[in-house]
Amino acid sequence: MKPSLSIIFFTVSSGAGLGLLALLALGDLLDQALPSDALMQGIAVALALVAAGLASSVLHLAKPANAWRAFSRFRTSWLSREAVFAACLFPVALAYGVLAWTAEGGALRALAALGVALLAWAVLVSTAMIYASLKPIRQWYSAWTPVNYLLLGHWSGAVLLLGLARAHAAHERSFGWLAGVLGVAALIAKIGQWRAITAGARDAPTLERAIGVPKYPNEYSNKYANKYANEGAQPPGMTMARARLFDVGHSHGTFLTDEFGFVLARRNAVALRIAALSAGFGVPAAWIASGATNAAVAWLAAIVCLAGLLAERWLFFAEAQHTVRLYHGAPRT
């Protein structure tokens, strides 16, 4: 798949914002609330990340004037669900922010916190399911996709949350542990997904299956015909023949080659995986372990983490292979 920068930025930025929102609200519910001003800062940063992501996602549309219609198919489309949940999240999060600002306690604030957490998860899951429900892309059509989106969003959100906690000297230990646990879980999920993609190559769709070669008559003499004839045996038939693209039928690129034709060099894939792991996990983990309370260092750690996740998300697209590639000559996806 073509790594579309607007979507890559959207999913990483919104993911971190949604993770941060959910963790802030959960912390509040579990009696680990940040002080009022820190909570306000956290909500502001989180909503800014989500809003920037959503704005970026609109850039992906070829006809943004019709974007308002995306709220209309909640019952069937994960993209529509994502839009509806995101639209609901903002007023609830703002209400929660006001309650936090007035240092209001009680049931209303708890209810708002619960609503923020549930809606943040709903948006994250909807975003992930857009990709996880696409059957033609085996690298995405897997439970690993929502697990990764949820854990990576919460991991980057936890890094931001710990930065806030340290700057305000509140609940540093508990949020430090939280970030550590989420980081390990997200790392396991990411590596697990990469391993599953490699393992799935065994059963990946092939060009032969895509054009129905196994349905062709068995009488056809394939490449073994001469050999078999020499030995007086029957040839295995056309059903066993290998296929290759002879001519693609167009002289220059098409929408299909542009959208699905992206090929990632193996060398670049390894380099990017190392970059994603070291920036996305290594640097923030070192910062968590260091216990540094400097706000600038905390911002730096969070930005490096998000940059690493941008590389990870770029790979998520670049390594995904759509079945349309088979019809354009790829032997398998």
């Binding site: 549309l61 070829a62 198919r73 060009l207 349905k215 020499n230 023949a241 002879f246 167009h250 959208e259």
Partner: protein, 231 residues
């Protein structure tokens, strides 16, 4: 009703007449608007097509066979392109035809990602998704003579390798051909239940016996012997 096409891989010669007839008819389609061309007279012409013909080679020379493979929308019975659409622009009619409402589409590409066959192409000039309409503006047009109420690709095919009809009617030509010739849909394992069916190449005719093949091979005439072996 389950309207769709049968495509005969045995008779298709890969001439692209179906694709160009489609482009010609639908260029002024009231259903999907113009099919934009990008740099049509430039160095790298490109554009939107509903129907594309690709060519594959099976086996290895000399025992090889060329398969010409036209592909357009399969009008799947279980069309994910319709369910993933967030705006409601993509829809399936009662007669089975899958269409895009050009006034509602926001060009998010998700339906193209959900289609395993590459049947949908974004028109970057209009910013909307375009796809085969099964010539819905021909097949229902009562001003046309009955024999012309068929998709343009079917009418254009010079080898009579394309057929249009209702797969829900067991007596229709498309149902009969599919049953008789072992027609198949593409990638059924994905579960989209594609309606369009492909007829596999026919078994090769017996021209010489296998014993003659051996004799030809001994004389070094492998290329003569290869395509005609029959048990």
């Amino acid at each position: 009703m389950r309207l769709g096409l049968v495509i005969d891989l045995d008779t298709c010669v890969g001439c692209h007449a179906c694709a160009t007839a489609c482009k010609e008819w639908n260029a002024s389609s009231p259903v999907s608007g113009p099919l934009s061309d990008y740099e049509p007279f430039g160095a790298e012409p490109s554009g939107v097509w509903f129907n594309r013909v690709r060519h594959y080679e099976l086996g290895e020379y000399p025992a090889s066979k060329t398969i010409n493979f036209p592909m357009s929308c399969m009008h799947c019975a279980d069309a994910d392109c319709v369910t993933v659409c967030p705006t409601g622009a993509s829809y399936k009619r009662d007669d089975g035809i899958v269409l895009v409402d050009q006034d509602k589409c926001m060009g998010c590409n998700l339906c193209a990602w959900a289609c395993p066959y590459g049947a949908r192409e974004l028109d970057t000039a209009s910013g909307t998704m375009k796809k085969c309409t099964l010539c819905v503006d021909r097949i229902n047009d009562e001003l046309l003579p009955p024999e012309e109420r068929q998709p343009a690709c079917v009418l254009a095919c010079p080898t009579h390798g394309r057929f249009f009809g209702d797969f829900d009617d067991p007596a229709s030509e498309v149902s009969r051909l599919t049953a008789e010739r072992g027609g198949f849909g593409l990638m059924p394992e994905l579960g989209y239940a594609p309606v369009n069916q492909y007829l596999p190449p026919r078994e090769p005719k017996t021209v010489i016996a296998a014993s003659d093949v051996k004799a030809l091979l001994e004389r070094g005439l492998a290329s003569l012997a290869s395509p005609v072996i029959r048990r």
